[in-house]
Amino acid sequence: MAGEQSASKKPAVITVNTVWCKGCEICVAFCPKDCLEMEGGKCKVARPDDCIKCMLCELRCPDFAITVE
């Protein structure tokens, strides 16, 4: 348990594959912590420190373009 907790405290690394991203904004609209923004028609990671690793952006990305570590 302790290990898991410390792992979850590690800051999230959100990666966007901008070649695969088609800019649908689903990740941006449904991020509960408002970590993401649109820039130039693609998703941009704006506030990674606020990420709680709920994984919803990764789960709902239709383009296989976002990963959260």
């Binding site: 088609k22 904004e25 449904f30 990764e58 789960l59 709902r60 239709p62 296989f64």
Partner: protein, 271 residues
């Protein structure tokens, strides 16, 4: 992070689906379910027909068979009967499975052959440019229903239940974790199992029906989906404009390839 890359054919990405199309979300839920169940990529076959959903096989690194319009279940039936050791997943759409392929759909369910069917229901013919399908809601607009659709839609899950499927569930691409669970249960079921996945088409359906933005379509899903448990407690008035998701049928009944194996055993000459 889930590593999808070990299951996809990266050379074919980015995929052909439009921005905000739900089909990629369904594919990811399927891949996670396959991974969780440890399905062998060598021993799994995906069969599809024609349409947007039916382009799914091109992206998955398993044995894949992209067939003719409406006929995925017929091809899949041949694959499964010829080699029952293979896991056979059928990916189809509302037009593919319930219009041109309607006959195969009801008969595969009646036969209760061990196929897992993911039917992406987007209420429209997306690939051909937005013509109305058997699930286009009454009054909705389509390129061939520009005055509003006059026809009542099919209830796809209801159709499968009535035809004799042993497992029927409905999911959606907003509630992705639940969708993954439903697909997992369908994959494990020995018999004809259907997961009807409500998956938005912002391009061909949304733009004609005041939901051009993918986010708008996802919000609509969020606001209209009700779990089967909650649905039971709702009045008819409360149910208006909503639809239920979850397991709609789950029974045990004789499965075709298992019954056929028994027949072969019975016919075997005594030694």
């Amino acid at each position: 992070m889930f590593d999808y890359l070990q299951y996809v054919r990266q050379e074919n990405f980015p995929h052909i689906w439009c921005s905000g199309c739900g089909d990629g979300i369904v594919l990811k839920a399927l891949i996670r379910s396959m991974d969780k169940l440890g399905l062998s990529q060598d021993e799994t076959v995906m069969v599809s027909g024609i349409g947007c959903s039916s382009r799914t096989p091109g992206y998955v690194d398993i044995n894949t068979l992209h067939t003719t319009h409406g006929r995925a279940l017929a091809f899949a039936t041949g694959v499964k009967i010829a080699n029952p050791d293979l896991n056979v997943i059928v990916v189809t759409g509302d037009g593919d499975a319930t219009a041109i392929g309607g006959n195969h759909f009801i008969h595969a369910a009646r036969r209760n052959i061990d196929l897992t069917v993911l039917l992406y229901n987007n209420y429209i013919y997306g690939m051909t440019g937005g013509q109305c399908s058997p699930t286009t809601p009454r009054g909705a607009y389509a390129s061939t229903a520009q005055h509003g659709n006059l026809e009542p839609p099919f209830n796809i899950s209801g159709l499968a239940i009535a035809a004799g499927a042993s497992f029927v569930a409905r999911g959606d691409v907003y509630n992705v974790k639940k969708l993954e669970t439903l697909i997992g249960k369908a994959l494990q079921k020995k018999g004809f199992s259907l997961v009807e996945v409500v998956s938005p088409c912002p391009t061909a359906f949304g733009r004609r029906n005041r939901m051009a933005r993918p986010v708008k379509m996802m919000e609509q899903l969020r606001d209209t989906v009700v779990s089967v448990e909650k649905w039971e407690k709702m009045t008819d008035e409360e149910r208006k404009g909503k639809f239920r998701t979850g397991i709609l049928k789950d029974i045990e009944k004789p499965e075709f390839t298992a019954e056929y194996a028994k027949l072969i055993e019975k016919m075997r000459p005594e030694e």
